[in-house]
Amino acid sequence: MIKDGKFGVHETIALLTITISAKVFFSSPSVVVAKVGTAGWYMTLISAFVAFLATVLLIRLLSIYPNKTLMEIYEIVYGKVVGKILSLILFASILITIVANSREFIEVMKVYDLPQSPPSYLLILLFLAVSVLAYLGLETIARFSKLMAFFLLLVYISVLVLSMKLYEPHRLFPILGYGLDTTVLSGIQRSSAYGEIIIIGVIIGSLHGLKHAKRAAYLSLIISASIITTALLAFTLAFPYYTGEEITAPIYLMATLIEYGEFIQRIEPLFFFLWNISTVISVAALFYVLIIIYAYIFELDDKRPIIIPLGIIVIFLALVPQNIVQLTIGMVNMIRSYGWAFYFIPPVLTLAIAKITKRYGGSTQ
């Protein structure tokens, strides 16, 4: 039987930050530029602020029900049937996110680095790594996240610093992009980019109390927002809005343009470490959360037998999008635009209903 284990604030911050930020290395920055033009780098701050408000309410909900996971709270507030349906919605949201993230990773790898390898082969390799991590449990994933976090941060900062030669400040102008209204609306809509923060409600049992969960949630949101904002800012400075929106993997492309004489060039293999490790951690964390929710819904004590079947299901679902357009413009864009409704609305609504009905701890008080 896998034990979720216990880990501290640092591990949680590393786990949540990597899970949230990994997406910035794929097509998301281009989609942001296509939507809001030059304003993408501060649009994401609006998204982070909305996600922060949702997290404050989520933490409030968790504080009303001490030592309870989000799924348990749903059952207490709505009863068993509706509670399970809401857990199932959360399960579906995370499943779609994993499917989209894994396939996007594979597609980008195929475009830039492994064009001959079939997607199924790459997906199997990815899920081998993810399954091993899931097999070893949440604590291992969290501790591995912490172990890699400093290295990943160092590589990320190196890429940003080495790209400085590409930065042109005029590319931030016109400063309002396609207009302030578009930026604010898109910012609110794309708060789903930080939607993975919801998993704090699922893994709360592995943390040392609500105080730790609160600290970890807020700090990881702040760090993730900083990483995503700096990545978008660097991207906006390096590519003008009219060509920036065309690029499949902007941050990778930025790394390929780094050139200091004949000595420092072609440093993108360094970027591959950042890319691959962050994706494996991100997918593994979400995959494990998926297993927790599934085990909860179907009241299974042992999570181990679920890993391989669920992994196979995810691989097959990831192979469903017919092409990269269907994936990025359709699936990924849909998750980023409407994911907030599935990630943030249920807990917020549950908090409101819990406050109105005063149904705390399974009985009306």
């Binding site: 064009p115 396609y178 207009g179």
Partner: protein
């Protein structure tokens, strides 16, 4: 026992997955393309020329480690094809190794193709192609690209691609041509802030006059030629000098080496170069000055009823390299005369190149990068259409020039002064 079986399975899986993957390629099964030339085709739409490097002894390992096995040979192959990628496949009907573009360092485009208005159509597939890096250098050549790529073989510096890339880097020391990457150029042809510009190259024409009367006319500007036209004997067959101007993806004109320097000064990309001015006190003689930009140009743009007013201030400095007349310009009272003359010279050159570009309706100076700061939204900016409005712009140019050093001589003694 269970653990041992698991370990064995893991080791077998690692052996299978880590040995290689679908994309693994041996160095001997690949031909690395060094240069790409693109012309308009005769029997098909594209005429693609590639210069490929292959190890001299292929995969023969008999003399492994010897010097001869390390030498690279190059071959130039040209093919007509309906598309760039289709052309690559056609090349592989002739070349046993797979063509690999990841190490290509130069893209050569013919002037005809550049002027056809189809550059976007030709460039986009290259930008999309994963093997071509956007750091690839791009040049436009007079004549055809095929000949230019072929003639790089005759460069006297080992590998042709290394020689050409070094030549492109030399532009930084002279300012006679810009160094433009595929990324810069692609951004340029789509830009709302500016228009694209590319360095101009050519196969050198044999036009050196060995005999005739001695030159007896005024002082010519250094670099007042286009590539291929310099009066030269010997040296490499190819040369770079001047630049090609674009409106979107269509080449609309050229700047000679001198005009390109002025453009580079305005862009703030001029590092250093030698300007030769006429001696203000003795017009028969010249004064060469090693010139550099002392500060980034100060550019202010404001609008008068939609008409842009551009105020440009270029700060330069330099060292005197020679005073043929022997006049003591090094003295505190006289040094200002050279500074004023140089200021006039640069102002005239800058104004002239701006007017030339305005008449061609192209802004290669990146003025739009400053103008955009006056606009709040992309819609407003695109509606204003800087690239069209630049033509009507009023440009005020101010140059500041200071002499910093006078070379190995602190002053000319009076008895060295030559007659007019």
């Amino acid at each position: 026992m269970k653990k041992k079986i698991l370990l064995i399975i893991t080791i077998i899986m690692l052996m299978v997955t880590l040995t290689s993957c679908y994309d693994a390629r041996e160095a001997t099964s690949v031909s690395f393309v060094q240069m790409i030339g693109i012309d308009q085709g005769i029997t098909d739409k594209w005429r693609i020329t590639v210069k490929i490097a292959s190890m001299q002894n292929g995969d023969d390992s008999s003399n492994k480690g010897s010097e001869s096995s390390q030498q690279t040979q190059t071959k130039t192959i040209t093919i007509d094809a309906p598309s760039f990628n289709g052309g690559i496949d056609l090349f592989n009907t002739n070349i046993p190794q797979k063509l690999d573009f990841t190490h290509a360092s130069l893209l050569v485009i013919s002037e005809d193709l550049a002027q056809s208005g189809l550059m976007g159509e030709y460039i986009t597939p290259l930008v999309r192609f994963r093997e071509i890096r956007r750091t690839l250098n791009v040049i436009v050549v007079r004549g055809n690209a095929q000949e230019f790529v072929e003639k790089t073989e005759e460069c006297n510096q080992g590998s042709p691609s290394r020689a050409v890339v070094s030549l492109i880097r030399q532009g930084e020391n002279t300012g006679f041509y810009p160094k433009i990457s595929l990324n810069d150029f692609y951004n340029g042809i789509k830009s709302t802030y500016r228009q694209a510009v590319l360095p101009l190259g050519s196969v050198h024409k044999k036009n050196f006059d060995e005999e005739g009367e001695s030159y007896n006319e005024g002082v010519k500007n250094t670099g007042q030629y286009f590539a291929g036209d310099t009066q030269r004997k010997g040296g490499n067959t190819i040369e770079l000098l001047g630049s090609a101007l674009f409106v979107k993806d269509n080449m609309v004109g050229k700047l000679n080496g001198h005009e390109t320097r002025m453009m580079m000064l305005i862009r703030g990309e001029f590092k250093k170069g030698i300007f030769t001015i006429q001696d203000p006190e003795a017009s028969k003689w010249i004064i060469p000055i090693d010139t550099r930009v002392s500060r980034k140009p100060n550019l202010k743009i404001y609008f008068d009823n939609d008409r842009p007013i551009i105020s440009l201030e270029v700060k330069t400095e330099g060292d005197i390299l020679a005073i043929q007349s022997g006049i003591n310009y090094e003295s505190e009272e006289m040094i200002g005369i050279i500074e004023n003359e140089m200021t006039r010279y640069l102002e005239k050159g800058i104004t002239s190149v701006i007017h030339k570009c305005q008449s061609l309706n192209t802004d290669p100076f990146n003025f739009g990068r400053t103008a955009v700061k006056h606009f709040l939204t992309i819609n407003e900016w695109e509606k204003y259409n800087w690239n069209e409005k630049f033509m009507e712009a009023k440009v005020e140019v101010k140059v500041d020039f200071k002499i910093r050093r006078t070379g190995g001589l602190l002053r000319n003694s009076d008895n060295n002064v030559r007659d007019e």
